[in-house]
Symmetry: C2
Subunit: 216 residues, 2 copies
């Protein structure tokens, strides 16, 4: 039986979407990518909402039409029975803990600061949120830095899903106005992730977003 | 070998903590509960931070001192090899998807609105956040209502971890100012959860919180 070709509906410069691309590339799994400009309403069309009522990317679609949403749930499903998800139940729970940490304590600050700086007008009132986002995002980075004092990876003894999830927005934290200079262990870990087999970087943002980020 | 007694560090009227109590009760597992008043800084002591640098409850502690954080990761670990977590990988991924939905698209609105109304002074500037929290929380409830048009449970064919996670704050959504009158399928599902074997309700909030909720 041939391996199923999966379809990813995603916005390439979204860290949540890049997580899925990175793992698929590292697994060597065939996939089709459908670009969805979530920053401009493409997840709120009737066709998209019929597949994901929560109007978010990424979304995984199987050949039989079945859908899986939530980036970190997609990572876990793709990683089943591979080295990217620990086989030991306790260690797998630790990896899951980092995945929930990423979505609750990291992404809403580190990723949202990047979004506001790159994808909203320079005079957007949302920019008033940035100081609080930076403060909370730095707290998340400090928790990561502390973990890396005693461990090489977040997933367990080996690189895997939790590293991929945390890498996505930490690697572009500077876009959100974060300075990683005070986080030497995170800086080393980012380099270790970039050196893993099959690693692919996130594509460059649009010229418009790049100009806003430069001017922020 | 006797079954290990787990220790839960939790704040009893926190939905995130009640998730863990509810599953432990339904599993019939022995546990010890250490009350941690997270609303008044008890997660920011040096002793607590040494165990959980992310200063949150709940936190699970094993007899050997090993720690697991993040309510939904704790649920998954406790539910391994039980009917509360689907054995099928695809269905388990769907349950995980709802767990991430709960932490990203539901809890930050439905739970935080309740916290602001019950645990901040009546003249707190944070109360200005409430209209936006209600709007976003209602979007999450609408996604849940839509799912329940075609399914009985969130976890899969049977009640389990995703139902427990979503129940925790949906059942007390009125505390946050939400009206479930427009969500009949959610109302029915809440009743089905309350009827499951071994169900225990969340303890009552303090008189002070109850008075604030009544006055909000």
């Amino acid at each position: 039986m041939p391996i199923e070709t999966l379809t990813v509906h995603g916005y390439s410069v979204s860290g949540n979407c890049h997580k899925v691309r990175l793992l698929l590339e590292q697994l060597g799994r065939p996939y089709r990518w459908i670009e969805v400009d979530s920053a401009n309403g493409a997840t709120r069309t009737p066709e998209y909402l019929a597949k994901n009522p929560n109007d978010k990317v990424p979304m995984l679609e199987r050949e039989d039409g079945h859908i899986l949403t939530e980036s970190n749930a997609i990572l876990c499903w793709l990683a089943e029975n591979t080295s990217f998800l620990p086989a030991d139940a306790w260690q797998r729970a630790q990896a899951l803990s980092w995945l929930f940490f990423e979505q609750y304590s990291h992404e809403p600050y580190v990723a949202v600061a990047r979004f506001i700086r790159g994808w909203t007008p320079l005079d957007s009132p949302r920019r008033a949120e940035l100081p609080r986002l930076i403060e909370r995002g730095e707290q998340a980075l400090a928790v990561m830095e502390q973990h890396l004092r005693k461990a090489h990876w977040f997933t367990g003894e080996r690189y895997g899903v939790a590293d991929i999830a945390l890498f996505a927005y930490t690697d572009c934290a500077a876009d959100g106005g974060f300075d990683l200079g005070g986080f030497p262990r995170i800086t080393d870990w980012l380099a270790r992730v970039r050196a893993t087999a099959g690693f692919v970087p996130m594509p460059a943002v649009s010229d418009e977003a790049a100009e806003r980020l430069a001017a922020s």
